[in-house]
Every structure is written in structure tokens, then in C-alpha cells.
């Protein structure tokens, strides 16, 4: 079915984007309150891309980083990572990967690799391998063992990214599963998550 990107941006989808963005911001705040070592700051992007599709997900990711970027311009650079995340997560959801456990595992693995690469590219070329977060110490440790910058950065990203992806995905998935059918049915990409059987 060819419907074009414009079709994805219904008013409902458009209203979900700010919610997704604020969720990411709030998720970040809550992570700080709970003093978690991992920032649960991608739930918004994941959640929105799952139920509203890859392109809406991409915009959510972008906007989230732009909003953070007004306070911390480093975030502008990493917008690319969030966009990749939204896009991948959205397409996988569209292809109904997240309806079974194998799909979820494979999906998360791919998302992890893709975002680790994207983040590696950004941090290596724009910021000399640095992200400004605590994980930079891990990168430093890899470098100290004599690894090249690019491999050290990617290794760090893969390790920290695994926890990140799993936790962010788990939280978003639990929430998506709790969204009432009545709402999912109005969304262009809500169908895979509708609980009632016998719906085309």
C-alpha cells in the first residue's frame, strides 16, 4: 500500500510527537531522580515510532534533540542517532516484528547496532570520540589498551547501548501494550498492538 509520508502525519500523530518529546525529557529527569545509571531518555521516540510509524518517529527523535540542543548544543550532533532509532524502530513495528519474541530480540539487536554505529560516527567525527557522559571513561579504558579510536568508541557504544536499548524498549513496549484498542485503531500503525482478535 502506497500512501506517502504525508499520510503518516495525521493530526493525532502530530499531537503524539510533543508527547513523545516531553516523555523523553521527563524520562531523563526521572532517571536522575531515581539515580539510575542509564538514561531512559529514548522511550518517547521508541513509543511514538512504534504506534505512529517510522517517519513520525524520526521527527520525534529529531525534535527531542533539538529541544535539548537549545540547552546543550552537543545534543544537536546526536540528533542523527535519535532519527536512526525512530526510523528503525518504526519500520520494524510496521513489519510486525514486535508481535513475537524472536522479532523483538532480533529487532532490539539491530536497533542496538544501528544506533551504536550512528552514535560512533557522530562522536568520532564531531567530538573526537567523546559524548560528554560517564561512558567516556569506558572509551578511555579501551583506548588505554591500545585500541584505535573508532573501535574503542563503537565497543563502548555497543556495551552501553545494549542496556540502554533493552531498558528503553522494555518500558516503551509495556506502555504500548497498555494503550487501549479504541485509541490504537485511530492510528495508522496501531494495528499490530490491538488485543481484540478478528480484526483485519
Amino acid at each position: 500500500m502506497k500512501r506517502g509520508i504525508k499520510y503518516d502525519f495525521s493530526l493525532l500523530a502530530l499531537l503524539l510527537i510533543p508527547v513523545g518529546v516531553s516523555l523523553s525529557v521527563v524520562g531523563y529527569q526521572l532517571s536522575t531522580i531515581l539515580k539510575l545509571p542509564i538514561f531512559v531518555d529514548q522511550i518517547g521516540t521508541m513509543l511514538v515510532s512504534m504506534i505512529a510509524g517510522p517517519w513520525v518517529g524520526l521527527v520525534t527523535g529529531l525534535l527531542g534533540n533539538v529541544v535539548n540542543g537549545m540547552l546543550n548544543p552537543v545534543s544537536f550532533g546526536f540528533a542523527f542517532v535519535s532519527m536512526v532509532l525512530g526510523l528503525f524502530c518504526g519500520f520494524m513495528s510496521k513489519w510486525k516484528w514486535f508481535t513475537n519474541i524472536i522479532g523483538i530480540v532480533v529487532g532490539c539487536a539491530i536497533i542496538n547496532v544501528a544506533t551504536a554505529m550512528a552514535s560512533g560516527v557522530v562522536s568520532t567525527f564531531l567530538f573526537g570520540g567523546v559524548t560528554g557522559a560517564g561512558t567516556d571513561l569506558v572509551t578511555a579504558a579501551f583506548l588505554a589498551t591500545g585500541q584505535a579510536l573508532w573501535t574503542a568508541v563503537i565497543s563502548t557504544n555497543l556495551i552501553s547501548g545494549t542496556f540502554n536499548t533493552i531498558i528503553n524498549f522494555a518500558v516503551s513496549y509495556i506502555i504500548v501494550r497498555r494503550i487501549p484498542d479504541r485509541f490504537l485503531v485511530k492510528l495508522n500503525y496501531g494495528m499490530p498492538y490491538i488485543k481484540k482478535k478478528g480484526v483485519k
Partner: protein, 245 residues
């Protein structure tokens, strides 16, 4: 925002920022780039956002710059590395790389931070709308900016409520991680529920209308804007000529 810089038309400020960003990217060396910092501080002081600017800069960019120097100069094993102690060594290549990289980061970040601090988002969306950007885009920007503080406030209320109901926010990591979902769940579900109703409310305000949108808020370009616009164009042309010659 009430300073004379704050009152400039957003596209004027954007043009100035863009020109300085171009200078910072395409000029070799690092001296000019580092000089952008005092320049931006000066602009911020004139606009009355000096304190704000320095706060943001040192909280975000300054740290990352220290990290870059540390990693590039002392840790990465370049060929010219001179051992200092253990895995630490000094590398001239690393220092040169850091200087050229951090100087650009400092310049561009300072300009961007400053731009957003002296420009009202409302003015930006107004200017975007006037220049023919689709209504959906400006809507997205304004609604996000308006929603975030509301959601933050809401999350604080929910956190307090959950705490008073005895949900553990202290203790070991697993316990704290478990607290996350019950804290966020209600927030998400209620905000999603609200989007559903807000669609109807917005449609009742003719959101989908295809007529060109007008605006009750008005902002006009003033003489200062035109002068600055011309200066920017002239500066750009002069820069190209200088770089090519």
C-alpha cells in the same frame, strides 16, 4: 528578550549566526574560532543574557572540551606519543587535532546557545509561518515548547504521589528501576488519552483548514534588520572572495 538584540527579526539573528558559523567552519587554524567565544559573551552581555549564556556553556560544552583534550592528547596512541606514566602519554598530533576540533565546537556551540537565548521561540515560529513553512511544522514546534513544562510539572506531581503511596525511590538499583514503570505509565497513558480529545478540540478550531493562516501576533522587520541583512550578505561575499583569491 526585551533588549534591542532580542527585538531583532529572527531571520536577521539567524543570518548573523549562520555567517559566523560559516567563518568558523571554513577558516583554517583555531585562533579566530576561539575568539568567537569572547565575541558571543559580549553579544550576550549586550542582550542581557550574559549570565545565562555562561551558565549553559560551562555546564555543557566546557566539560566535553576537557574530555576531548584528555582523550586526544593523553590517551589515544598516536605515532608521536611520548610516554608519561603508565598508559598516559603526550601527543602533539593529538593536541593539534584537539585544538582544531574544540575551537570549532566552542565557536558553533556558543553561537547556537546565544541564538536561542536571544530569540523568542514565538518569534521563530511566526517568521517560519510568514516564510511559507507548512502550518503543521510550526504547530509542532509551538506545541512541543508549550507541552514540556506542563509534562515536567505533571511528572513531579506523579513522583510525589507515588512516593507518598510508598513506591520505593531509594534502595538498590533493581528496586529503583522497578519504580520507573508505575511512575511513567500513568503519565503516558493520560497524556495519550488527552491527545485523542485534543484532536477534536483542534479540529473545532479549523486546524485542517486549507486557507492560508493569518496571525494576531505581529512582528515587522525594522531598519536595523535590513542593515544587518545587507551587512551579512556583503560579509559573505567578501569572505568567499578572500578564501578563493
Amino acid at each position: 528578550m526585551n533588549s534591542s538584540i532580542g527585538k531583532l527579526y529572527p531571520s536577521t539573528k539567524f543570518a548573523v549566526m549562520l555567517l559566523l558559523v560559516i567563518f568558523s567552519i571554513f577558516t583554517p587554524g583555531y585562533v579566530m574560532q576561539y575568539l568567537m567565544f569572547p565575541l558571543v559573551v559580549l553579544i550576550s552581555l549586550c542582550a542581557g543574557t550574559g549570565k545565562q549564556f555562561l551558565g549553559t556553556f560551562f555546564k555543557s560544552i566546557f566539560i566535553i572540551i576537557l574530555f576531548i583534550f584528555a582523550i586526544q592528547v593523553f590517551i589515544i596512541s598516536n605515532e608521536d606519543a611520548q610516554p608519561i606514566w603508565g598508559f598516559l602519554h603526550f601527543s602533539q598530533t593529538g593536541l593539534n587535532d584537539s585544538l582544531s576540533m574544540t575551537s570549532k565546537i566552542v565557536a558553533i556551540s556558543s553561537l547556537v546557545i546565544c541564538f536561542f537565548q536571544v530569540t523568542n521561540i514565538k518569534d521563530i515560529t511566526y517568521a517560519l509561518e510568514r516564510s511559507g513553512v507548512p502550518k503543521k511544522v510550526t504547530f509542532l514546534i509551538s506545541s512541543t515548547i508549550q507541552l514540556i513544562p506542563q509534562m515536567s510539572a505533571l511528572s513531579k506531581t506523579i513522583t510525589d504521589a507515588q512516593k507518598s503511596r510508598g513506591i520505593e525511590t531509594e534502595g538498590n538499583m533493581l528496586i529503583r528501576a522497578k519504580a520507573f514503570v508505575p511512575m511513567l505509565g500513568p503519565l503516558v497513558l493520560s497524556s495519550i488519552q488527552q491527545t485523542e480529545e485534543r484532536v477534536l478540540a483542534l479540529e473545532s478550531r479549523a486546524f485542517s483548514s486549507r486557507t492560508k493562516k493569518t496571525s494576531i501576533y505581529e512582528m515587522k522587520k525594522k531598519t536595523a534588520d535590513y542593515i544587518l541583512d545587507i551587512l551579512c550578505i556583503a560579509g559573505f561575499i567578501a569572505y568567499i572572495l578572500w578564501r578563493v583569491m
